[in-house]
């Protein structure tokens, strides 16, 4: 490419990025001022950040954050457990049964959130389960686990053929072979799967909305949704969104660093 073309190309990329990030940057900037209306700069202030953790906004918001994190951790834990064990199983399945399980495993990833949410909602309603914390975790496990399976599977495939047999051959029982040989080799995939599941869980909105019931359970997403529908943009949402953005940024950097390291190996 000639220099002019190169500059044009680079310029296009940066222009796109500028537009993509303009909203979040504006929010971040105006989270440091008190003005009710976005765009008015009334001097630097941390008031909105303070409001986040106190007063009328603070209490329910903190509760929502707490729910989001605990649901995220629980869902990530159960999906990782279920998904890692399942990956070993699926890896050793053959033919039609493997196809069938893989097909089922793909459904949650291909299904739009709203369908997943409604489907689970109808199931819980039909069976007569009161919806709340538990149903949200179950729902999150159902759409997070496929991603765990998908992040563990490549590690199993990368394993040298006959690794498991070699362990048995050297005197390890099947249990020992899994603990001492298979698990250490798929651990990076398991950890990535956990982080991924956690990220997906705290990010979810639609599925949570349909499965949280009406007992007043709110996660960050549903809280923001309810709040924004009520009265447009509450000023306190600005610092909140800035914080969430930073958290996701950090999580993503961790995941990417891990996968970059793994690729090098």
């Amino acid at each position: 490419m000639s220099t002019a073309k190169k500059i044009l190309a680079k310029g296009y990329l940066w222009l796109l990025l500028f537009f993509m990030y303009a909203p979040i940057v504006i929010i971040a900037i105006f989270s440091f001022t008190e003005a009710k209306v976005l765009g008015n700069w009334t001097g630097f202030s941390m008031k909105l950040y303070q409001n986040l953790f106190s007063g009328s906004v603070g209490g329910s918001l903190l509760k929502a954050v707490e729910n989001t994190l605990s649901i995220g951790l629980l869902s990530a834990f159960f999906s990782t457990l279920l998904g890692s064990v399942a990956a070993v199983g699926i890896y050793n399945l053959k033919g039609r049964s493997r196809q069938a399980v893989t097909f089922l495993n793909n459904i949650p990833m291909l299904n739009p959130d709203i369908i997943t949410g409604i489907a689970l909602f109808l199931l819980f309603v039909a069976v007569g389960i009161t919806q709340g914390y538990v149903t949200v975790v179950l729902a999150h496990v159902s759409f997070c686990t496929p991603y765990v399976v998908l992040s563990v599977m490549p590690k199993l495939r990368q394993m040298a053929p006959n690794t498991y047999e070699a362990a048995l051959d050297l005197g390890a029982t099947p249990g020992q072979a899994l603990r001492k040989v298979i698990f250490p080799q798929i651990r990076p995939g398991v950890v990535s799967g956990f982080i991924l599941a956690f990220t997906l869980s705290i990010d979810d909105f639609a599925v949570t909305l349909f499965t949280k019931g009406n007992q007043g359970l709110e996660t960050l997403s549903t809280y923001i949704y309810a709040d924004a529908r009520k009265g447009g943009l509450t000023p306190e949402l600005r610092p909140l969104m800035t914080v969430v953005f930073l958290v996701v940024l950090v999580l993503l950097l961790i995941i990417n660093r891990r996968s970059a390291n793994n690729n090098k190996k």
């Binding site: 504006i26 089922l104 997943t116 409604i118 109808l122 159902s142 529908r229 969430v244």
Partner: protein, 260 residues
């Protein structure tokens, strides 16, 4: 004594999948085909086709989704192509910056866009809806295309040049056809969420414009489960048809978000 087969380890998850993935979808089917008086009935679907408002919303949603998808493709393909040609590796800053928004809560990004329109004093309406959708979903178009282009063996293009193709011919006759899997995945990954979204449209237009997702959600919320399930099934059918266009293999590969 026979040791447990390792394939049996898939069993607990298979049970889970049947209970919490397959069964819920069956429930949607059952509810959709159940009439007011109970019993199998098509009345929910009949009702949909006799409701001008819902039909209109449905067609309008498809329009918006198509426009969004086309705009994302037109804006995204060049970006993906430029990135794949400029010696960036997967973890480089530019690529990361394009992927990052995929991982931020859709609501937060939408609200941020709304904030931008606020800031610019732009009135919320159809134009902001489409702009907002494109903002939201552009990364989902760029990433799969970039991925395909990046993995593509550069020797194809070199071979085409060697056989006398001009750079434009190389692009139209080799690069684009070979990146079709990525294009299809991108289309799928943009079209699917745009057709099914509800919160995004609500927030972007402050409830001035209603999309099909909102119709479904409103029905479910107000206890019209059977009708809501039927509408969900209709949406699923649209998505199913879109998926058929692209190879299911390709889409599942890209659906993983590509970060792992």
């Amino acid at each position: 004594m026979k040791p447990i087969k390792r394939s049996a380890w898939a069993l607990p998850y298979t049970v889970f999948l049947v209970l919490f993935v397959a069964l819920p979808l069956v429930m949607v089917l059952i509810y959709a085909f159940t009439g007011r008086g109970g019993g199998v009935s098509l009345e929910n679907f009949v009702r949909f086709f006799h409701s001008p408002e819902d039909l209109h919303t449905f067609v309008y949603s498809i329009e918006i989704a198509l426009i969004t998808t086309v705009l994302c493709l037109l804006l995204g393909y060049p970006a993906a192509w430029i990135m794949s040609n400029s010696n960036l590796n997967r973890s480089s800053v530019t690529v990361m910056l394009f992927i990052l928004p995929m991982w931020i809560n859709m609501l937060i990004r939408t609200l941020a866009t709304v904030a931008l329109f606020d800031f610019l004093r732009a009135p919320l309406g159809e134009a902001t809806l489409i702009f907002g959708m494109v903002y939201n979903f552009l990364p989902f178009m760029i990433y799969p295309i970039y991925n395909t282009l990046n993995k593509m063996d550069k020797s194809y293009a070199e071979a085409a040049q060697d056989l006398g193709a001009t750079p434009i011919k190389v692009f139209t006759k080799v690069t684009v056809p070979l990146s079709m899997p990525g294009i299809w995945s991108g289309i799928l990954m943009v079209f699917m969420p745009t057709i099914s979204t509800f919160a995004v449209a609500e927030l972007l237009t402050m409830n001035k414009i209603k999309l099909f997702g909102t119709t479904i959600q409103e029905n479910i919320n107000s206890g019209m489960w059977n009708y809501g399930a039927a509408l969900a099934l209709i949406m699923l059918a649209i998505i199913g048809i879109t998926t058929l266009f692209s190879d299911s293999e390709q889409s599942s590969e890209v659906e993983t978000g590509g970060l792992i």
